[in-house]
């Protein structure tokens, strides 16, 4: 087999047939350059996935233009809105006295799950265990 080239990326995308996976694996066993290329491709994908998702500035993408200003409420509805806001504020004060959101320790969960699956056989233990999100 010649160097698999784009097939390496397709392998990582899960787009190869079992026969193609076999052929690529056979080639990788003999070709250090392709192994290095596969590892670099996998690493680049992991790095890309770890980048934070940023919200684009308003107006940069179609359909994300600034929202027009709301029209003014009529006076009677203004009083209702003010009353609702006061109620919401008072409820918010009550709600706010309790503990706020706390982050979950996914690393801890990952370590605990991994440690548990490794004590017994199973498909996961046979394959390998690699990482947490």
């Amino acid at each position: 087999m010649t160097h698999p080239g784009d097939l390496l990326s397709a392998l990582l995308d899960g787009e190869l047939t079992p026969e193609e996976i076999g052929a690529v694996s056979e080639h990788l066993d003999m070709c250090a350059a392709c192994r290095a290329e596969l590892e670099a491709t996998a690493a680049a994908r992991t790095a890309l996935r770890s980048l934070p998702v940023l919200d684009p500035p308003p107006g940069l993408l179609p359909g994300t233009a600034p929202v027009p200003r709301r029209r003014m409420l009529r006076p009677v509805w203004g009083w209702v809105a003010a009353g609702a806001a006061a109620l919401a504020l008072s409820m918010g004060l009550v709600l706010g006295t309790a503990a706020g959101p706390a982050p979950m320790n996914l690393d801890g969960f990952s370590e605990q799950h991994t440690a548990r699956i490794l004590v017994q056989p199973g498909v996961q233990a046979v394959r390998a265990v690699v990482e947490a999100p």
Binding site: I21, G22, D29, E131
Partner: protein
Amino acid sequence: MTRRRLLAALTAAVVLLGIPVTATAEDGVAEMLEHASEAEFHGSGVVMCSWEGDSAAATYEITRADGMSMIQGPGGALMSHDGISAMQSGSDWYGTEIEQWAAWSVSDRYSLGETVETTRLGRPAVIVTVLEDGRPRVRLILDVESTVPLSTEILDGDGGVYCMAALFTFDPGTPDMPGGMPEMEEMATVHPMAEGTALPDAIGGYRRADVYDAGAGSVQAFYTDGVFSFSVFEARRSDRPVEFDHAAEFDSGGSRYRRIVTPTNMWVHWSAPDRSYVLVGDLPPDHLTTVLEALPRPGDRNVFVRLWRRIFG
């Protein structure tokens, strides 16, 4: 030769010779997986999971000898031995010890299908299919001499490959390993809990094998069918995994969940009215759908219930 090794060798022989083993179906799967997880070798490979357009892959190196395994992946190294696993972060090692665990058994829904001779990495090999209720669920390519899986494919309910792992270098034998587990910077012990969760005892063919304390008011319920496994972490509703903030949403049984695909696992998060949940495991997507339907559904609390609970607990 111990009874276990004898059984494993017999099973391997049966598998490798292609003798029909459906009469002892589940025992055949159990022995094959057990033997495969004990084989000694060194290799490097690629592991990948893909679900509905989300995919993740990584390359790794694995060494297994003397009952110890060491895996070097993009996130660092992982060593495991006798219920203790150690993960490397920088130059330090952090250990996790599972205090006790339920006995392992394979669900009787699995059986071994026919075997086909092949070659892989220039070596004689056999393709072994694990059937679930008669349908292919896992396809393994085992090295004949060592019975190490050179390739593993997990199939979704529609027969498509959901996860795969393939070695591209393979060196059987007894590789060099460190003399023991590394010096740990910290060691955490995972304690079982007799009570502590209302999560079901069994879901979609998986049994709840163990329940552990996961710290900070969280509980880990570990489910397995002997082939696949997953943990459900049940936490306070206010606890939020920030990693899921931008995760893909998906629909299951009419409810919305968020998911992250890693090279070896599926992570799912949702908040039910009373608790927040994270599920992690290698179960195929069609199994996941069944499992999610049996767990508390996503939903918001009624504002007055929320207010009441905040005030009166």
